[in-house]
Symmetry: C2
Subunit: 407 residues, 2 copies
């Protein structure tokens, strides 16, 4: 029997960061930089006003104060976006807007609130120091600075900085493409009239949602009956040229475990029992003429969901250019006692609140109610047969299952 | 001058949860339920096997043990998805797969690992209790149970439960649609050759990314020059029939503040100074013949970014059917001292690590470097002029700016 870590390493050995592509900054949200972003301009790009006010020569206002303003003629306006090169003549002021270039000759801006706001002449009630309300060219960023480093997952603030630095395109790892294949004669789509022995295929909806929630995309999906020819045909023509194939079902010890039968014959996929609960029957390898990496998940929805978090998510992270290590894993304290599988890692579906966790309900591998109510997986090590209140456990957050319950 | 809370209340008063729509479970990831999901079937839908093994009458195996098996003829196979109603005759066993219906007459399943795995006859090495490896119909969910409650933001596990309960469509609040309008003569798209006084429009990219990261969608976007006619024309034909309009720029005290001029004349938008830093000049109201809710953000990128988190995000949450209260706000301890604006709420861009925060860099409202490096906003109350090490501060996480820096 493999350990969870051994199987995760086997899955990770199949994948590498996807070859970088160049995309527009407006399309890069959530993608991971494959190269540093280097500023193409200084930020600010020119000395500019931090306030709406009046550009002045500070020395000329040395004596000004609240009760004894200096009055200067206003020679004109400088707007943000004004591309004229204004010059401030001695003894004058120029009305200036926030962000507008500081005119040649000026060395300070008196905010409008400290003046009478005049349009042709202005009374200035303060003696500004040189540099008052002036943002200096390049004081934030200089041309050639690496403003974002490779490996950064791009959020809105990063994109703002890249855009402001006049970088229209960035080099990123593309979003991983995942084909989702559910198998099983007993499965029918949601909303079907169920015959005796049939169940609804919830894995298909769930895995597509997990792929999306992980920031990857579903390249294509299929449901197959337990039919070896259908499985073989799919391998020859994987839906949507995926970077990774996920299958569910057909990998246990049953005589109808077609996925296992076909992929084992194909030779590229290795099947293993993994010392974990739920999720023991696992497999991974490469499939089809394309030798595409594949992970075969158990057909049981709870096992499949848990296996996705511990094996597939790290693989998707590596493909996307991230550290595959557990994203957002945290420590929490058990609030109650619960039993764990002897000799296996137990992945308990728990609700976390203020650093404390308790099982979200029945832990049978068929119990979807407790799965849906959970916010995390508590990782109970293989040596522990019973969690006691106060035990500290490593926990993995569940994708898209926060505590947002509204109103 | 308004308080931050007063302005947030003004913004929130403009919006209500969007009218519910019905969507397929496969399209509902991240949306918020507007009605409970009621199970259409029992889960499990029938008594079924928890293991691959042999269905038996437990009483017939009373004497079995590791060294003295009971041997029974195998009368056939029961597969998952088999819609035949099998009956187990006395004195026989049926080979059964995980998830397959328990045959009439059987009351336990002996896992294949505890047998010799025979196909025509089987040696069973254990005396099972009645119910061993049997999952009972309805033990997880009963038809008519409300399995998910209104207000739940749908994650992969929720969708799996709805699908498994044979519910093909769910009633949700739709994704809010947001029009993004940046204004300013000085702004040019990323990658432009910059003339004197021009700057790159980073707000457009940033706000579109923030809208997406908040789970809403950009209905349309535009960049306008500081031209009253263009602003008026836009109001008459908002891009993409949005639920909310965001503008940036043109709302300060400058003489070229066209957005303010047009919207103030239109009468539906109220402008206010808000006691916060950055982000003082704010406005909100309704615009155009459609009376669409609108928030006018300052043109400064840092102010705009901060204002989005404190005013727009709560509005998007309410539109989406969520509690508008701060999502994921947390307490953290200041690691260092820093000054704060007297009489205003200071929203310091900070890096959070293990419950401690420090400013991410220069806090000038033009400093995008520090914005991009931040992971949260620390909310320094209006009465505090200096944060001291050890002070406990409320913090708001930044959308899409986690600490994922890879490799």
């Amino acid at each position: 029997m493999r350990t969870l870590e051994e199987h995760r390493a086997a899955v990770l050995s199949l994948v590498a960061p996807l070859a970088p592509v160049e995309v527009a900054v407006g399309s890069a949200l959530g993608l991971v930089l494959a190269a540093d972003v280097v500023a193409a301009v200084d930020l600010p790009g020119f000395d500019n006003s931090a306030m709406d006010g009046y550009a002045v020569r500070s020395a000329e206002l040395a004596g000004a104060g609240p009760d004894h303003p200096v009055v200067l003629p206003v020679a004109g306006d400088v707007a943000a976006g004004d591309t004229t090169r204004h010059v401030l003549a001695p003894g004058q002021a120029l009305r200036i807007m926030t962000g507008a270039p500081i005119p040649e000759g000026a060395d300070a801006v008196v905010p409008v609130e400290l003046t009478d706001g005049g349009a042709t002449g202005v009374a200035l009630h303060v003696a500004p120091s040189a540099g008052l309300s002036v943002r200096r060219r390049g004081e934030d960023v200089r041309t050639g600075d690496a403003v974002l480093s490779a490996g950064t997952r791009l959020g809105p603030g990063h994109l703002a900085l890249a855009a402001a630095a006049n970088v229209p395109r960035v080099v990123v790892h593309p979003r991983p493409r995942v084909a989702v294949v559910s198998t099983g004669d007993e499965l029918v789509p949601p909303g079907s009239a169920l015959e005796h022995g049939q169940i609804v295929d919830s894995n298909h909806v769930m895995l597509c949602a997990l792929v999306e929630a992980a920031g990857a995309q579903v390249s294509g999906s299929a449901h197959l009956r337990d039919d070896a020819r259908a499985v073989r045909a799919l391998l020859d023509d994987l839906p949507g040229a995926p970077d990774l194939v996920l299958t569910t079902g057909g990998v246990s010890m049953g005589v109808y475990d077609t996925v296992k039968e076909v992929l084992a014959a194909d030779g590229g996929v290795e099947f293993a029992k993994v010392a974990m609960r739920p999720g023991m029957p696992q497999g991974c390898g490469v499939v089809g003429p394309s030798r595409t990496p594949a992970v075969t998940l158990p057909g049981n929805p709870v096992s499949s969901f848990v296996s996705f978090h511990v094996f597939v998510l790290p693989a998707l992270r590596r493909l996307a250019g991230l550290d595959p290590g557990a994203d957002g894993a945290f420590d929490a304290v058990a609030e109650v006692a619960w039993p764990a599988a002897p000799g296996k890692v137990e992945l308990t579906r728990v609700v976390e609140r203020d650093g404390r966790v308790r099982p979200s309900g029945g832990q049978g591998s068929h119990v979807l109610g407790a799965l849906s109510a959970a916010t995390a997986l508590a990782v109970v090590p293989a040596g522990v047969e019973r969690v006691e209140p106060g035990d500290r456990l490593r926990c993995l957050p569940l994708l898209g299952q926060d505590r947002d319950r509204g109103r």
